[in-house]
Amino acid sequence: MPGVTSRLAAYSQVVLFFGAFLLFWEFGVRYFEVKSYILPPISAIAVAVWEARSEIFENSMYTLAEVLIGFGAAVVVGVMLGMVVYVSPFAQRTIYPLVTALQTTPKSALAPLMIVWFGYGFISKVAMAFLFAFFPIVVATLGGFAGTAKNLEEHFRALNAGPWRTFTTLRLPSALPSFIDGCRVAMPLAMIGAIIGELVGSERGLGNLIMLGTASTRTDLVFGCIIVITLISLALYALIEFAAKSVWWRGIQV
């Protein structure tokens, strides 16, 4: 079975590469006598994560909640706005240029403002996750609707299909692949938004733990948090990829 063999080979290459990388890190740091507050050996990071596991878990759940709620709100509001802009020429002339202009604002610059508005707690981080995730979703939703094939629209007109039927049977399925693409971009951005919010001012969360770790030169803990954040982001991305599988008609033209 050549397929299995080659896949096995591909996996073993990945494992070997990362193994070599971690070994190089572990022994390179020791060999070159790098100060542990600059770059701790990977084993020290693992120990730090294990020792602080309940703290890291608790803060992870807190950050995860911020990300998911912010992302969910971005999906709901983004899809609604995308639809409004799609159906209303007025919104297309007024709201959409505004949205596009706001998209170019560096969202991280808004973090202090969010904390002034919503406080140090949960809500300001949700707002940050929302701000980061919102624009790609609006743009992707609108792009999806606008990309509905013209010949299919005419076909539906020839069948006297009403606006609701055309929406549910044609436009919605047409827009789904683009919408999922938007989610792919938006999900990691929501995590970035939440973490930036926590770094600027927070009482809990992985970003807060990073700040505490930095203040007490616990670089091992800081690295541990960064790794955990990356793993959570990867898991969320995998979730979107899984959902994307049900929209299998992406890119299929018949």
Binding site: N151, L152, E154, H155, F156, A158, N160, A161, W249
Partner: protein
């Protein structure tokens, strides 16, 4: 009261009710004009297509023949003159008119069966009648085996057959076809011509077929309307006096078939 047997249809078309007796002229255009901005697409188009007649509109690309079909289908408006179906002025797409376009209109995310029954669902046909109609059409088009496949798994010819099925599911009396085989290779096209002929000979619908293939027009039609471009107008009308039922082997081998093809080629300015 206007007799549906005559070509005299009032411009207004209002208050006409021809449901009682079958209309003889199913599709009619009188002095039809259409412009896109300053571009004159159609000029003074006059023609009649009778009940159960198969008429092809033959013309070079860009002559406005697709525009003509879209006007008859009620998909785009026109400026002056009139287009009527069964004596009623065309204002919007009608349930008794099926349209087949050049690009197959399959929704990639639906199975062949769901694609074919789309029109029936949109027009709220009862489920059992719909299922029976779809079963029959899939059988007629030899697509039964592919009912649960998705469009991208089919060949181009099969997709186009399924598109014809989409139009046939409501059993329309009138079928408008806009170069339905234009995107297919010559061999598949010939095969589908034979199939279309068979379907038409069995169900006797009124057909208006837009094509730029002379052989296709001659093989299938009772009459051929030839269009010229800039502006689009009908320049010639040829009655195809070949015996029916026609079939692939004998009809195409008839000397008269070749004569019609040669003559239409000359009319269209193709060296033959």
């Amino acid at each position: 009261m206007v007799s549906t047997a005559t070509a005299e249809v009032p411009k207004s078309g209002k208050g006409l009710n021809v449901a009682a007796e079958p209309a003889v002229n199913h599709i009619e255009a009188q002095g039809l004009n259409k412009t896109f901005g300053s571009f004159k697409a159609l000029e003074d188009i006059d023609f009649t297509i009778n009940n159960q007649e198969f008429v092809s509109v033959l013309g070079p690309s860009g002559c406005g023949k697709s525009t003509l079909l879209r006007i008859v289908a009620g998909l785009i408006p026109y400026e002056s003159g009139s287009a009527t179906i069964k004596g009623e002025k065309v204002r919007a797409p009608r349930p008794d008119v099926g349209v087949v376009f050049q690009t197959n209109n399959m929704l990639p995310w639906l199975t062949v069966r769901r694609n074919v029954e789309l029109g029936a669902r949109i027009r709220n046909m009862p489920a059992d009648a719909r299922d029976a109609a779809v079963d029959k059409i899939l059988d007629v088009l030899s697509l039964t085996k592919f009912a649960d496949a998705h469009p991208h798994q089919l060949s181009g010819g099969m997709r186009q057959r399924a598109s014809i099925g989409q139009a046939l599911v409501l059993d329309p009396q009138i079928l408008l076809m806009d170069e339905p085989f234009g995107a297919l290779d010559a061999l598949t096209r010939d095969k589908l011509n034979v199939e279309l002929l068979r379907i038409w000979q069995e169900s006797r619908k009124t057909v208006m077929l837009i094509t730029h293939s002379i052989a296709e027009a001659v093989f299938l039609s009772d009459r051929v309307l030839v269009m010229a471009d800039r502006p689009g107008k009908i320049v010639e009308e040829v009655t195809i006096d070949l015996p029916r039922p026609r079939n692939a082997a004998t009809t195409r081998a008839m000397p008269k078939f070749g004569e019609y093809v040669a003559y239409l080629g000359k009319v269209m300015g193709v060296a033959s």
